[in-house]
């Protein structure tokens, strides 16, 4: 949210040289959201509003519990409720309520940062948090195109993009994110990524014991892993959880647009101007002999220097 964080920056948008690298021993953090322990109380949404001073407009009921029904510039996390009929081994079906806390996944390889044209408007800290530095944001919406999870939202009030900061301001001073602090069931945990993956593996083992066939930790490799990881009861079908992508990656279109083509195109444009200059130096201009005005034979003149040579 603000550039005034005591966190080291690992990557910075629209910046072609490396950030300062001297301090290398920062622990990578992660937030673990155990969907199987979530009761859908929305305390995390309230805590997010309270800590970040966000007040969304009161919306309307859209026929389900989702409220608000989507992420907005004022709602950085939203609980998404999915009612699914899961087939049981004995061919009967069971209704399951899969409640996923949606928000920024804090990708190790963030598509938003890759797409952003404003230097320093998006940063990734060495602890893994991806943060929008709003005072540098120009509101172009490229981060929306870059994100594989459809997370950033552009405010119509101030034309800036907003999303979960993983409470970078709290984490910078050794606190856990507000949502993790307030979660009454311990479904949201925060710690080093290593610890969170270890805890997630334990939960997966417990869920297996409880009869789930394919529980899994959701830490998608296509974006280099994420710093928000889910424990999913049905880890083989992330799409059940309100269309969580099974294998998210930065779109090849974005990779092409922001990858090698950018420096190549830049070099080609500058190169074209340079080639023109040297063409002028080598070949020289096409000049017209204005003393020829009365010779109306309608034929182009031979080059001046040829004529000079012939004289």
């Amino acid at each position: 949210m603000s550039s005034l964080q005591s966190l080291d920056i690992a990557a910075r948008s629209a910046t072609t040289k490396p950030t300062p690298q001297a301090r290398q021993h920062v622990t990578e953090v992660a937030k673990l959201i155990d969907v199987s322990s979530c009761i859908g109380c929305k305390a995390c949404q309230v805590a997010c509003m309270q800590w970040n001073d966000l007040r969304d407009e009161v919306g309307v009921n859209v026929g389900q519990y989702d409220n608000p029904s989507d992420l907005t510039p004022q709602s950085w996390t939203v609980m998404r409720y999915a009612e699914v009929q899961m087939k049981q081994p004995d061919e009967s079906t069971r209704l399951e309520w899969l409640i996923r806390k949606d928000g920024c996944m804090h990708c190790e390889d963030p598509g938003c940062l890759k797409a952003c044209p404003a230097p320093g408007a998006i940063v990734k800290y060495t602890n893994g948090i991806v943060d929008f530095i709003s005072e540098h944001c120009i509101g172009c919406g490229y981060c929306v195109s870059g994100c594989p999870f459809d997370i950033p939202r552009i405010s119509r009030t101030d034309n800036r993009a907003y999303k979960c900061s993983l409470c970078s301001d709290r984490v910078a001073v050794g606190l856990e994110p507000a949502c993790a602090k307030v979660c009454p069931t311990g479904a949201i945990r925060f710690g080093s990524k290593e610890d969170m993956l270890e805890f997630g593996a334990q939960r997966v083992a417990e869920l297996k014991e409880r009869g789930y066939a394919q529980p899994a930790v959701y830490d998608p490799a296509g974006v280099g892993g994420t710093h928000v990881v889910y424990v999913l009861q049905h880890g083989d079908q992330p799409g059940l959880y309100n269309d969580l992508p099974a294998d998210p990656t930065i779109s090849p279109l974005v990779a092409l647009w922001k990858g090698i083509t950018k420096p190549l195109a830049t070099a080609a444009m500058i190169g074209a101007a340079v080639v023109g200059f040297f063409h002028y130096v080598k070949v020289g201009p096409l000049e017209t002999d204005e003393t020829d005005d009365d010779a109306d034979d309608g034929r182009p003149r031979r080059r001046d220097e040829d004529r000079v040579r012939g004289e």
């Binding site: 172009c140 919406g141 279109l253 647009w257 444009m269 201009p285 096409l286 017209t288």
Partner: protein, 206 residues
């Protein structure tokens, strides 16, 4: 110098330079958002937020101007067999041997090529630009379409910039051309040398 030949009337010239200035504005503001190397151009427009706000408006007004310009000059830009011959021999022109080129009417094949390149690129830039114009239109467009649009927009802009570099360099290279678009007139010898068929068609050889 004897008489001068009129090549562009006042309306065409004024419109050309309106489009040119808007291209400069749209181009510099667009480049600023294209590569960090050009980010300092945002300073010309009052910072990053202003650059982002103004760029699409520069573009739309430029396209409006170009549409008028298009209908002012398009009839002289139809491709002919003569133009294909001109393209095949164009390397000789680049070596300064203009006298070996096929005779040219009002526009040579290079000028026609640049004209049609601008027309196509501006159409692509206009359509794709609307598809990711925040905050007005992007919200109604699916994100995969926006990704495609932004890539196509950058590619069309890249071709357009190359076209403009060629266009501007040709005007510097062929002495007497700049006068055609600033004052509207050229000398008879300029017309005879570079556009002999046009020189004949307008009856300047009589």
């Amino acid at each position: 110098m004897a008489r001068l030949i009129r090549r562009y009337n006042d309306g065409t010239r004024v419109n050309h330079w309106i489009v040119a200035l808007l291209f400069l504005a749209a181009g510099l503001s667009g480049l600023a958002l294209f590569h960090p190397l050009f980010w300092p151009f945002t300073g010309l427009f009052g910072g990053g937020q202003w650059t982002k706000t103004l760029h699409p408006f520069f573009g739309v007004v430029m396209v409006l101007g170009f549409v008028i310009l298009f209908f002012q000059v398009w009839r002289d830009n139809f491709w002919t067999r003569n133009d294909s011959a001109w393209v095949r021999r164009s390397s000789r022109l680049l070596r300064g041997r203009e006298e070996e080129m096929p005779p040219v009417a009002k526009y040579n094949a290079g000028q026609k090529g640049v004209f049609w390149l601008f027309a196509v690129c501006l159409l692509v830039l206009l359509v794709t630009g609307f598809l990711f114009w925040v905050p007005w239109f992007a919200g109604a467009v699916p994100i995969p379409v926006r990704r495609f649009a932004v890539l196509l927009h950058a590619f069309a802009a890249f071709l357009m910039v190359l076209g403009v570099i060629i266009h501007v360099y040709a005007a510097i290279w062929v002495k007497g051309s700049m006068r055609a678009m600033t004052r509207g007139t050229v000398s008879p010898s300029w017309a005879r040398r570079h556009h002999p068929l046009w020189y004949r068609d307008i009856g300047a050889d009589k």
